[in-house]
């Protein structure tokens, strides 16, 4: 009699414990996709980080950690296009709906990542990269030959060693840092976020760093070959370089606008802020 009661009690306790664990159970899942040349990979994950790195061969490997059973992963492959989608179930929130992704793709694949919270990380790819995050911190490094498009509301954006492509970044209030970034087109559009550029303004590119109230700091070497215009309507403008004057309709004003060329003026550089400070620094 006593043994039966103890067993029953133990069973009830075990059921309760297992139920509790099941409610918050994290799940690990892995998906493999065989793709061809220049595959397209899309990951949409409202809550949680996404990290993309190159992998061997022509495979897309997706490793996902689901933080609860209130989220499931929908995945599909159509030809050379792979889509992975975190499907939030009823009652999911930022914690229970979180999925952590680690993805390996062929280096020539184009990648599209959407996440509200992020962070988003991409490295060592040659294809196009499209990243969109509301508050997600974005970190991109060692890309070449692809187009990079990044949009955030207030997530900070950092690009390191990105070259030979187009770079277009739009962030309302996230700070943007570009380190060793060059290409035929590098455009940053910020509202209140700061913009920091440290590079060579190379490759005969079109560089445009513009903000509403965010400060802009551009650091370039003494041998930079640029045609530069800089203007702040209400902020202060500083320049460390001796610029050659050029014939232009742009009106220079001491302390608020300057224009000129350096070297052979291979690249065009625009530094424009409505009320932020602008400083073109010599490295």
């Amino acid at each position: 009699m006593y043994r039966k009661q103890s067993a029953a009690t133990f069973a009830v306790v075990m059921v309760l414990v297992l139920t509790a664990f099941a409610a918050d159970e994290t799940t690990r899942k892995e998906f493999h996709f065989k793709v061809g040349h220049r595959a397209s990979v899309s990951i949409i994950n409202q809550y949680g980080p996404i990290s993309v790195k190159p992998g061997p061969g022509k495979h897309v490997v997706v490793n996902a950690i689901l933080h609860s059973n209130k989220v499931e992963i929908d995945q599909s492959k159509s030809g050379n296009r792979v889509s992975v989608f975190s499907h939030l179930l009823e009652g999911a929130d930022a914690e229970t709906g979180q999925v952590d992704y680690e993805v390996q793709v062929p280096a020539d694949a184009s990648v599209t990542l959407h996440s509200a919270t992020g962070p988003l990380h991409v490295e060592k790819l040659h294809g196009d990269v499209i990243l969109e995050g509301n508050t997600a911190v974005v970190d991109v490094r060692d890309l070449s030959a692809g187009h990079v498009h990044i949009k955030t509301l207030n997530g900070a954006v950092t690009l390191t060693n990105v070259s030979d492509g187009h770079v277009e970044i739009t962030s309302v209030s996230g700070d943007v840092a570009l380190n060793a970034v060059s290409g035929s087109l590098v455009h940053v559009n910020s509202s209140s976020g700061k913009i920091h550029y440290d590079g060579e303004f190379g490759e005969a590119g079109d560089y445009s760093l513009t903000s509403h109230s965010g400060d802009i700091e551009a650091i370039a070497p003494a041998y930079a070959s640029i045609e530069v215009v800089a203007r702040s309507v209400q902020g202060k403008v500083e320049n460390d370089f001796p610029l050659q004057p050029e014939h232009t309709s742009f009106v220079a004003r001491a302390g608020s606008a300057f224009a000129g060329t350096m070297g052979k003026a291979a690249s065009s550089v625009k530094l424009l802020s409505f009320s932020g400070k602008i400083h073109l620094k010599k490295r």
Partner: protein, 207 residues
């Protein structure tokens, strides 16, 4: 009698003037104007009723405004002690003047506080009075975001206000000089930002 001597004697004799002072007043227009002004202020000050005594809020506001403008520094006690030796002299002759001046200044500060021009784009966004100032389509957008992603609503609202401030400043700049290419670029960038915010908010790919 010099002007300095006259002012010193003026302090001692008050409204009554001796023969020497009268003679100086007739020959010195500066001292004559001073006495006229003091008499006028004194007459006006007598008309001030006790109920018109400014509330402590007025004095605090005046002090705050003067500190913000960098006209006064240090603590109130330091200021009081620094000027303590002068107060006795000023008390006698300039209390009515000071009262009239400070009342007028307080009224001016109060009006200035409601009609202050915008400082900069970002600060304009912060200073916009009342949450209801956002356009209706922005409100609808925020309601949509709130329904789909409640935790993101605040972020969208903050950023949308920042973008709207950008648009206001850019429009003003472009309007003041329609031929300014830089002003046009500001405007394009501002609208691009707004379009991006809308696009992100309404992105149906996110649940």
């Amino acid at each position: 009698m010099t002007c300095e001597e006259f002012e010193r004697v003026l302090q001692e004799l008050g409204a009554s003037h001796g023969i020497e002072q009268e003679a100086h007043l007739k020959s010195c227009s500066a001292c004559s104007d001073l006495v006229s002004d003091l008499n006028a202020i004194s007459q006006q000050a007598r008309l001030l009723q006790a109920s018109e005594e400014p509330s402590p809020w007025v004095w605090n506001s005046i002090e705050l405004a003067l500190r913000q403008d960098g006209l006064i520094h240090g603590s109130q006690r330091e200021r009081a002690s620094t000027f303590a030796p002068l107060l006795n002299w000023k008390l006698r002759w300039l209390v009515p003047l000071a009262a009239a001046f400070l009342v007028a200044f307080g009224v001016l500060m109060h009006e200035r506080g409601t009609g202050q021009p915008p400082l900069s784009g970002t600060e304009t966004a912060r200073l916009q009075p009342g949450e209801a100032a956002m356009p209706s389509d922005d409100q609808q957008l925020l309601n949509t975001v709130g329904a789909r992603m409640p935790s993101m609503r605040a972020a969208y609202e903050t950023n949308l206000r920042s973008v709207n401030a950008y648009i206001r400043d850019a429009e003003q700049s472009a309007h003041s000089d329609p031929n300014d290419e830089v002003a046009q670029q500001y405007l394009m960038n501002a609208y691009e930002q707004r379009a991006m915010v809308y696009e992100m908010a309404l992105d149906r790919s996110l649940p």
